[in-house]
Structure formats: C-alpha cells, structure tokens
C-alpha cells in the first residue's frame, strides 16, 4: 500500500532499511542532515569525534562528504537520486533524518528556482523497491532549496513526515535554519563539490536533462534518468504514460489537462535563455472562482460573467476579421471587374486568386486566434461547471443531489445556457440576479407542453433557492390544461398555498390579492413606514405563474397583470408568464410594453437574447431536467421536509 502524503502528514515505516527515491525532472543536489531529539543538527557527540570537521558538520551528508553512518548521498546533481538509508545504523542520539534538495547554482539552462521546475517527487521504498510512501512537493515559488521530508524516531519507531519547507535564501538559509554552524561556508563547499563532480562526470547530466527542463512537457515525461534505476522508467520512454512512472507515484493530474499543467512549471523564463514564444504565451491553468468577490458564490458569478464577456468579445473579433476579409475581397473583385483591362485574361486570373488567398489567409489567422481563445474558455468552463452551487448549476449537475434548503437566497439563479454558433459546445450559464428585476415570459408559441415544463422547472428552482417560506408561489391555470405539470408543486406540501379556483373567478381573486399587496408595500415604502405593515403580513417574495395568458383574463385582469409586471418586482411580486403572443393579439398593441418588459425564454433553443457588450444573438437553451430524472421530486421533498422545522 502506498501512501501519497500531503504536507505535514506522517506515515509509519515498516523497517529500518529504506531507499529514498527523488525524481525532480531537473538536476538537483541531495543532502541529508541528522538531528537530535530537538531537531538540531549539531549534536553534543560531535565535539569529540575523531577526524577534523567542525562540530555539527559530521551530521551532514552532502556531495562533498557523501557518507554518514547509515546513509549515503550521491556526489553530483541529478534529476533522479536514490538514497540508501539504514535507520538501524544511526547513532543513538539521532532522532531525525532530514532530506534536503537544492538547485545547483549557476548552471545555464537550469531553472532559477523550484517554481520554474517540475514539482519534485520523493518516494520512500523498501530496498527491493516496494513503495511505502510518496510525496510531491508542490506550491513552491522562489525557493532554491528545500527540506523535503524527514524520517523521525518516536517512541523507538521510525516514521516519515512530508515537510516541503522551501527556502528563498537557498542552501545557506536552509542549513542555518537546521543549526549547521558556518552554514554559508558549508553551502559553498557543497556547491564546489557539485561543480567538481559535474566536470568530472562522463554522462553529463545537464545534457540529458536540459531538453526536459525547457520542453513544454517537462512535467509529464518521466524525468531523464542520470543513473537509471533498475526495473523502473527507462530514459527512452518519453511517453507520458502512467504505467511508466516510478513505482509509488500516483498521478493526480487530470488526464485531459496534462498539457496545461505540464506547461505551467516550464513557463517562467530562465534568465539565460529566452523562452520560446509558445511557452511564454502559454495561458494560465484556469481555476474555478478566479474572479473578484467576497464569497465563492460571488466569485463564481463574476467569473461566469467574465467568461460570457470574453466569449462575446473574442467572437466579435473573429466576426469582424471575417467580415473585413470578405469585404476586402469583394472590393478587390469589384475593382478588377470595373476596369475592362483587368476583367479578363491570365492576369485577371492571377489577381483573383491573389485576392482569394488574401481572404482565406486572414480568415485562417482569425480562426486560429479564435480557436486559441475558445480552448482556454472551454478549459475554464470545464473547471467552473463542476464547482457551481445548485442555484448556478444545471439540473444534471450532481450538486443538486446534495441539495439543502438554503438559509439565504443566492446571488443569482441559472435560467439556462447560452451558446454562439462559433462554439456550440461552449455553454455559458445564463445567470439572472435575485430578486428578479423583471418578470419572465416563457414563449409557448412553438410547444405549449414544453413551455409549461420549462416554467415549472424555473419555478422549482426559484423555490429551492429561497429559504423555507421565502418564496410563495401562486399558479393561475384557468383552463386547467397544466394541472398535471403543476401537480408535483402542490403534492408533498412544498407549497403552502392551495391551487386557486379555476376560471375567471380564480384569476380575479389571486390578482386582486397580489395587486393589493403591491399597493400596500408601495404605500408603506413611500410613506417611509416599511416597518409598520399590518400584522400578519407575509413578507415572502411572491411568484405568480400564469399559464395560457390571457385565457380567462378580462380587461381588468390584463391591466392588473401589466401593473404587476411594472410595479411588482420592487414590491417582491414576480411574474412567470407562459403565453403565446398571438393569443393576446386581440388586445392590440396595448400589451406590447408588457412583452418587452419581460425576459423572454423559450422551451426550444432559440437565438433571441443579446449580450450587453457586443449585441450578438445568443442561442438560449432552457435549463431542463434530464428525462427520467427524479431530481425535481427529490428537491421538493427536501423542501417539504424542511418546512416543519420553521413552524410552517
């Protein structure tokens, strides 16, 4: 069983004889310090040791002095190291064995710091290569030396702990922190020893690792092996396949995001070699919530709007370039045809081909830029979508299965997805702020049944996004044609209100109640007495679903609906109309302002929504419940179950 450790985590060690395998993807220097019970390197035993070195130094194994009792380190910098450790051979006072890694100073082509190098990985194995624990040191930046792991003795048993402490000041700072006397001199010695060894070394490790350090896939391929460990990755196996990774190494990267994660560590330019334009332009890996805001919800909301704007603008750039290419081509052709001398003959052919080539070349260029931007936005969408809270997520998102009745209404709700023809796969959530500033109109012109399904899905979503009792729903269905679709809303007790009476009587009764409410709230607000509404006044937001408007409506009721559409949102009364505009044509142009004031949604994809920046026509798709899914019933059950806790 391999344990992949996180920073600070420890893991018991089964035996005393161990091997520590370091793979860093770039040449590093490995060193080991031994510490006493307090972790200090300079043990008391040091003073009366036989040979010369100053106290403390004999508990430090480094390339200049590679051997200590029970441990030996390599003499040179390499991308892969194998340190043999025998804990049984450690002197009695030793309680800690620290494994240090440092980047060799002053090498051309080598990363300037660990932030620019692939994340080093350490594996603790038994001598025959069975993995015990692994640790990838991540989150490094400007550090050039680090304390990677420590083995420590606790109550007579040895354990390994993932430390991953980096030092901006490099080896001197690290050694000083360890309590090594004359840390600066010792660091100098280590450096000298590495340089000496490098010049002597035959299989110059630099040559074999340099391509790995600069190629964008540095983080993916198994690190070039200076001293190939038997039976594990061979140097020729450059394919980033998981099986070729050293034993004990668990690859947590998303298989489809490999290129992006691999490019990131290679991106920071080294001072000596200017980076290839490709690696300099490598976009950052998108992260969910990468936007301003006080809460994760707000950040995600802002990020989605940022993606929306970026998609609108990047497509605008593409379309304008394409239009320009076409108009230039047309102009050039017109000019050719207008002049009788250039109209025919081989010269005209050539000119025509040239114009065509110019147009195609420009469109290709624009397409390449668009593809680059779309790939980035798609990658962002792939990380953002799974991170969305229920209010922002589609019904197919698993987050709905973990739905809990919220304490607070969310910032916004998702009413559907928006796409552009250039990127039909890239769906931007259409988020609308709560409380709704304008009513919603589901157009039933094409498909009445589907329109009511959309309306109910929206109603359930709004209900689920409000705390218990925060939203009261009224449904007007004078003809009763939507009774089956509305039924789940009334079953199970998620909705407190009984269905209104059918026909005009029911319509008038509900409308009168809501109109009175809006009047009352407005009166109270204007009078500066919003806190002295009559006792028993229901302060919840109200949502009125109207099916088949204006069926069953007389002139008075139509006027009331118009009043609610205009004045309702400010007083907490919101409209959700399911209507076909043609049905209401008998009222003449009187209702035109009503339609315009509502946000039109369609049960089938339709390109009628414009963005606020460029004004593209976006294809709207409603947020529909996947066929056969029980998610709506489940959410309504949760809502109903939560009611008694609030005394409702």
């Amino acid at each position: 069983m391999t344990a992949e450790l996180v920073r600070g985590q420890n893991h018991p060690l089964p035996g005393n004889r161990l091997e520590i395998r370091v793979s860093a993807g770039t040449p590093v220097v490995a060193a080991v310090t031994l510490g006493d019970e307090q972790g200090r390197v300079a043990g008391q035993a040091g003073a009366d040791r036989q040979s010369g070195p100053a106290p403390g130094r004999e508990w430090l194994a480094h390339p200049g002095a590679p051997q200590l009792p029970g441990v030996e380190v390599p003499k040179q910098a390499a991308a892969e190291h194998r340190l043999a450790v025998d804990l049984g051979a450690m002197p009695e006072p030793v309680h800690r064995v620290h494994v240090l890694l440092a980047l060799p100073a002053g090498r051309t082509g080598a990363p300037a710091n660990f932030g620019a190098a692939p994340a080093p990985h350490l594996a603790v194995t038994t001598p025959d290569g069975a993995a015990i624990a692994g640790y990838t040191v991540t989150g490094l930046g400007a550090e050039t030396a680090l304390l990677a792991i420590e083995l420590y003795r606790r109550h007579g048993a040895w354990k390994v702990r993932a430390v991953g402490q980096g030092y901006d000041g490099g080896l001197p700072a690290l050694l000083l922190d360890q309590g090594v006397p004359e840390a600066r001199e010792v660091a100098g010695e280590i450096h000298e020893a590495v340089v000496r060894e490098q010049s002597r070394s035959v299989d110059a490790p630099l040559a074999s690792t340099a391509p790995a350090a600069t190629s964008p896939s540095a983080g993916l391929a198994p690190p070039a092996v200076a001293t190939p460990p038997a039976g594990s990755a061979s140097g020729t196996d450059a394919a980033p396949d998981a099986p070729s990774a050293p034993p004990g190494r668990v690859d947590y990267r998303h298989p489809r995001r490999r290129a992006a994660t691999g490019a990131a560590p290679a991106t920071p330019p080294t001072p000596s070699a200017p980076p290839s334009p490709q690696s300099a332009a490598a976009p950052p890996v998108p992260v969910a919530g990468d936007a301003g805001g006080w809460t994760m919800e707000e950040r995600l909301h802002n990020q989605i709007w940022g993606m929306f704007e970026d998609l609108a603008r990047t497509v605008a750039a593409y379309r304008s370039a394409e239009d320009f290419a076409q108009s230039r081509y047309d102009q050039e052709m017109d000019a050719l045809l207008a002049d009788p001398r250039t109209r025919g003959g081989p010269a005209a052919e050539v000119a025509r081909d040239e114009a065509m080539l110019k147009q195609v070349a420009l469109v290709d260029q624009a397409r390449a830029v668009l593809d680059r931007d779309l790939a980035q936005l798609t990658a962002e969408s792939e990380v953002v979508e799974p991170a969305l809270p229920p209010a922002f997520a589609g019904w197919e998102n698993p987050t709905w299965h973990a739905y809990e009745v919220p304490e607070q209404p969310p910032l916004a709700v998702r009413l559907g997805g928006l796409t552009l023809p250039e990127a039909p796969e890239l769906r931007i959530p259409l988020l609308v702020r709560l409380p709704l500033a304008r009513g919603l109109w589901v157009d039933s012109e094409e498909d009445r049944g589907a329109a009511m399904d959309v309306a109910v899905a929206i109603a359930v979503r709004l209900l689920a996004c409000h705390p218990v009792g925060g939203l009261v729903m009224h449904a007007l269905d004078p003809a009763g044609s939507a009774a089956t679709v509305l039924a789940p809303l009334y079953s199970g007790g998620a909705l407190a209100l009984p269905p209104p009476a059918a026909g005009a009587a029911g319509v008038n009764e509900v409308l009168a109640r809501l109109t009175e409410r809006v009047d009352l709230v407005h009166m109270a607000i204007r009078g500066g007495a919003a806190d002295s509404l009559p006792p028993g006044f229901d302060r919840a937001e109200q949502l009125l679903i109207v099916n088949e408007f204006p069926f069953g409506f007389d002139d008075r009721a139509v006027n009331q609906i118009r009043y609610l559409a205009d004045e309702g949102p400010a007083a907490g009364v919101h409209l959700l109309l399911v209507a076909d505009r043609d049905d209401a044509s008998a009222y003449g142009p009187v209702l035109d302002p009503l339609w315009r004031s509502l946000l039109r949604l369609t049960p089938l994809p339709s390109d009628h929504l414009a963005d606020p920046w460029v004004g593209h026509a976006w294809t709207y798709e409603p947020a529909l419940v996947p066929p056969g899914s029980q998610i709506v019933a489940q959410v309504l059950r949760r809502l109903a179950a939560a009611r008694p806790a609030y005394g409702m």
């Binding site: 593409y318 304008s320 230039r328 420009l362 624009a366 920046w613």
Partner: protein
C-alpha cells in the same frame, strides 16, 4: 528608459530582452491654463478626450472613445472620461489600454487622438502630455509633450502598427480641429 519622442519618430515596441509587449497604455494628462483678468483665479475647465481608432487596411473598423469605452473585441479599453483634467497633477487623466495580443488579426493600425471637447484650443492647456506605458510593468516607453500647442482643438498623437516583427509606435503629432474623433478621420487618413 523613456524616449521623448519628436514628430514622426518611430520606435519599435519589442522589448530589450527580445520579448514583445503584450499590453500598452496610452495615458493623457493635462491641466487648464490659468486665465488672467478680473477673475484670474478662476480657471475654466477644459475637457480633453482621448480616443483610439482601429484601422484595417486604412479603413476604420472600430473606435474607442468616451461613448464606446471598449472595442467590440475587448482588446482596446478606455478607462473613462475625465471632464476637467489635472486631477492627477501630472498623472494620466485618461487612459486607453490596448491588449496587443487580443487585437483582431485584421486590425493593423491603432491611432490615438486627443480632442478638446469643450472647444478651447491647446494654447489654453498646460502640462499636457501623452505617453505610452508598458501596462505589464508600468514602465514608460515614450512620452510626447503637447505644450506650446497652437490654435487648434485636436491632435493626432501617435499610432501603433503591426509589422512583420511585432508592433511599433510612431509619433504623429499632426494638429487638427474637431470636437470628437469623427471630425478627425480626414486628418488621420494621411498619417496612416
């Protein structure tokens, strides 16, 4: 290091280390010249406006000014209208940020202009300058001073243009007359 540009001078926008600029900012700053006379302490407010016109093959395709703060493609952004100037006391009063990587492929020149919206001539403006800043690190690349301006109400300041080796900037400095950029298009065309 900043270059004090003179009319017609051209500088390359590739960086010393071989990289190319990714974002530049055109900053405009000015102060109203104090008037002498009976109410000499009262300075008249002067509203200068910075605009950027995007050209493709010598045809204007988009414009960024105080009524259209971001180009449709999002590559050129105006940070907002300043009606009085001098607020920054030497800092930029209006800025236009150009994300050179996002500029659509067909746009090959971006011309920056300054107009006096309130109609005063540049003779009444003092400490006016226009400068080009590397937006990624705030370093000033080029500065062009307007002071000593004559009896005209607009100036075509500079252009950045796309070449084979990346973007370059040319100081134009042609005086013109006009209230907004629309009046300037005829004056811009010869400079392309």
């Amino acid at each position: 290091m900043t270059v004090n540009m003179t009319k017609g001078q051209k500088i390359s926008l590739s960086k010393a280390d071989g990289g190319t600029l990714t974002a530049v900012r055109m900053g405009l700053g000015w102060q109203a010249a104090p008037r002498r006379g009976l109410f000499g302490s009262r300075t008249r407010e002067i509203d200068l406006d910075a605009s950027a016109v995007l050209f493709a093959d010598n045809q204007p395709v988009d414009v960024v000014f105080f009524r259209h703060l971001t180009s449709d493609d999002g590559s050129v952004r105006h940070t907002g209208d300043n009606l009085v100037g001098g607020a920054g006391q030497g800092g930029d009063d209006e800025s236009i940020i150009v994300d050179l990587q996002r500029v659509p492929v067909h746009v090959d020149q971006i011309v920056f202009t300054v107009n006096s919206f309130t109609g005063q001539t540049f003779a009444e403006v003092q400490n006016a300058f226009c400068r080009l800043v590397d937006e990624t690190n705030g370093q000033e690349l080029a500065r062009y001073t307007l002071t000593g301006g004559g009896p005209y109400t607009a100036q075509i300041m500079a252009k950045v243009q796309r070449g084979t080796g990346g973007w370059s900037m040319t100081a134009i400095g042609t005086p013109a007359n006009g209230r907004t950029f629309q009046d300037l298009i005829p004056a811009i065309l010869p400079a392309l």
